[in-house]
């Protein structure tokens, strides 16, 4: 644990912002105010934040259908995101994308993605671009990260992307978030190499790491090593598997009949990355409870403001359907 007070504060604020964003959406969706499909990242915050806290805007990420956490962690504007999910013209994508297609190219966020497994080839393309650009003044490459779940690890696109990255020595990082459920099916059934995705990546010729994705510090420290390796020219890609938990269903409205008795309560009690973070930092006297409570309040009010702004935000007009199909046509 080498983080200073400022870095710890930042990390906790980010995790908590994602948590409150998702918890609030869970409530708002039930009111019927939000349209479409929404997949919540709640429970996995330590992964997105533990990874993205190391990155700069030069580094690219490609996310998934469960992308809100990655977007916020990579620096997408919270109000712009909330407005997008509300379908507003003022949203980050002018209401054209919604929950599954949030992007912010300037921040290096190349898009959440509605197709499971589609992100990895795109990330390899971005990594090849970084390789062409070459190392910075300190001799380090920018990287591109494909976030994938245990569901996407079964898609051929992911395999193709891993092999292409190895063959071309692209500075790509495959971050596998194993939340034990691909939609409504368990990892023990769907992943032939039971509960071990990293070994697949290893078989493609990559250096791999594994860590507990509910422990921010395990994620953060592990990813520092992964980055150090991939930023070094000539090394090529790497993969890391984080064992994590999904607190809500596959999508909002999922009755989750596949969950075991008391499973969700147990996960919330024992595997909550935010509780684990709080216990570690207050136990080590790095941040006290009052500091953390005040950050909690900040997160809540940021979300409250974002929701209020989204309700009042301008709606798209019917003619906007024609905008931005092409640059010129």
């Amino acid at each position: 644990m080498q983080l200073n007070r400022e870095a710890l504060t930042r990390a906790y604020r980010q995790m908590k912002l994602i948590r409150e964003f998702e918890e609030r959406l869970h409530e708002e969706i039930q009111t019927g105010e939000i349209a479409g499909f929404t997949h919540l990242y709640c429970g996995q915050e330590a992964v997105a934040v533990g990874v993205c806290e190391h990155l700069t805007d030069r580094d690219k990420i490609v996310s998934t259908h469960r992308g809100h956490g990655h977007c916020l962690a990579k620096g997408c504007d919270v109000e712009g995101m909330m407005k997008e999910i509300w379908g507003s013209q003022e949203g980050l994508c002018n209401g054209k994308g919604g929950s599954m297609h949030i992007a912010d190219i300037d921040k290096g966020m190349l898009g959440a993605n509605g197709i499971v497994g589609a992100g990895a080839p795109i990330a390899v393309g971005a990594a090849l671009s970084n390789k062409i650009d070459g190392p910075d003044a300190e001799g380090k490459l920018a990287v591109a990260i494909a976030f994938s779940g245990d569901g996407a690890c079964n898609q051929g696109t992911t395999f193709e992307a891993m092999n292409l990255a190895v063959v071309t020595k692209a500075p790509a990082i495959f971050v596998f978030e194993n939340n034990h459920y691909s939609e409504h099916t368990g990892v023990d059934y769907a992943v032939g190499t039971t509960r071990d995705i990293a070994s697949r990546a290893e078989a493609f010729g990559m250096k791999v790491w594994r860590a507990d994705g509910t422990d921010f510090f395990a994620v953060y420290d592990t990813f520092r090593d992964v980055l150090e390796y991939v930023r070094t020219p000539g090394n090529g890609p790497a993969a890391v598997e984080f064992d994590t938990e999904r607190f809500f269903g596959h999508f909002e409205g999922d009755p989750q009949r596949y969950r075991g008795e008391g499973e969700l309560d147990r996960l919330r009690a024992e595997r909550d990355c935010i509780k684990i973070f709080r216990a570690k930092v207050s136990g080590a006297a790095l941040l006290d409870e009052a500091d953390l409570d005040s950050l909690d309040a900040d997160a809540l009010s940021a979300i409250e403001n974002a929701v209020t702004a989204s309700r009042a935000a301008a709606r798209p007009q019917p003619e906007n359907v024609l905008d931005n199909v092409y640059i010129s046509y």
């Binding site: 190349l110 292409l164 092409y326 640059i327 046509y329």
Partner: protein, 337 residues
């Protein structure tokens, strides 16, 4: 002007654009060739010889030999383009679009729209396409109907070496994603190509390949030369045809088609793709909707039958449109009273 083959017009244009703009990157299967072999790199230069010499000139970072992984090629092209490069990706046979459809249709085509106009994706996807080589059902298809149907994608179908050059250069410089349908049977076609290193052909402007007052023939890709042959044959009998080479099917030059049909009153549309939900039906619908009053006869469509592409020479010939079939369709239209 320099006389060159269609394939060399493609290769030279890519070479010149790579020299001009260091963001231009080539990727695909065997675009270098020989990597990992005793022979070493540059053994192939693309199976269509459309990337010969690029590797030697621009090196492995910008001329990327990929494994046989079409989804990864297509997706990487999207990622490269989102990250600021100008990839020219080759899908060795257009038929392989089935392997990588998602990365084109759900990803590259839609990024800009889904992201509210906050991204550009200047990817060029070259897809050698079409029949004529007895390559059977999985290496011969015309896929214009799939890609023309995709909002967000521009679709080019060059019919001559000059158009291959001018359209490809515009595609590489264009900020929207483009599918470049180069016809395999045209690779050896020879023609004059302008020397101007900035020669481009703007999209959505058809070319009048033959002019006549009696009927309009609309064609694209290899079908253009068939239509020209048919028109020349008909001219012997005093029948004059406009032959409209679409050049690009998305955007499409509606005005050129409608203006011609308003004069001739008769249209034959030629399409190498299967007959349902195709360019042929699309253009027929356009004319029926917007030039109905000008029509003197039913629209004729010359297309393959609703079958896969067959292998045997006799069968492939029976499958494909031909100058004779096009001429017969024109005569049929003219006989209608």
């Amino acid at each position: 002007m320099a006389k060159m083959m269609y394939r060399d017009a493609i290769r030279n244009t890519i070479f010149q654009e790579m020299q001009r703009d260091e963001r231009v990157v080539v990727l695909g299967e065997d675009v270098v060739g020989g990597n990992g072999t005793a022979g070493g790199p540059e053994a192939i230069g693309g199976i269509w010889s459309t990337s010969v010499g690029l590797y030697d000139a621009f090196g492995p970072d910008r001329v990327i030999d990929t494994p046989i992984s079409e989804s990864a090629i297509m997706g990487a092209a999207g990622g490269l383009a989102l990250a600021g490069k100008r990839p020219v990706a080759e899908i060795m046979f257009a038929d392989f679009i089935g392997v990588c459809m998602d990365q084109l249709w759900n990803q590259i085509a839609k990024f800009r729209y889904m992201f509210g106009g906050k991204s550009i994706c200047p990817a060029v996807i070259r897809m050698p396409c079409g029949a004529g080589y007895n390559a059977a059902a999985q290496h011969s298809q015309m896929i214009s109907q799939f890609v023309t149907n995709m909002p967000g994608i521009k679709v080019l179908m060059p019919a001559t070496p000059a158009d291959a050059c001018g359209l490809l250069r515009q595609a590489i410089r264009d900020d929207d994603p483009v599918v470049f349908l180069e016809h395999k049977f045209l690779y050896a076609m020879s023609g004059e190509v302008p020397d101007d290193p900035d020669f481009v052909i703007p999209f959505g402007h058809a070319r009048l390949a033959r002019a006549g007052q009696d009927a309009t023939i609309v064609a694209s890709g290899m079908m253009v030369s068939y239509a020209e042959t048919a028109a020349d044959d008909l001219a012997q009998d005093g029948i004059g045809c406009d032959v409209i080479d679409l050049r690009t099917t998305s955007p499409i030059d509606e005005e050129a088609i409608l203006d011609s049909v308003e004069v001739t009153g008769r249209m034959v549309v030629v399409d190498e793709a299967p007959p349902r939900c195709s360019l042929a039906t699309d253009i027929s619908a356009l004319v029926a909707q917007k030039a109905f009053a000008s029509l003197k006869a039913p629209i004729e469509m010359v297309t393959p039958p609703h079958t896969p592409v067959p292998f045997a020479r006799e069968l492939e010939s029976a499958y494909l449109p031909s100058p004779a079939k096009i001429a017969a369709a024109v005569r049929k239209s003219l006989e209608y009273r």
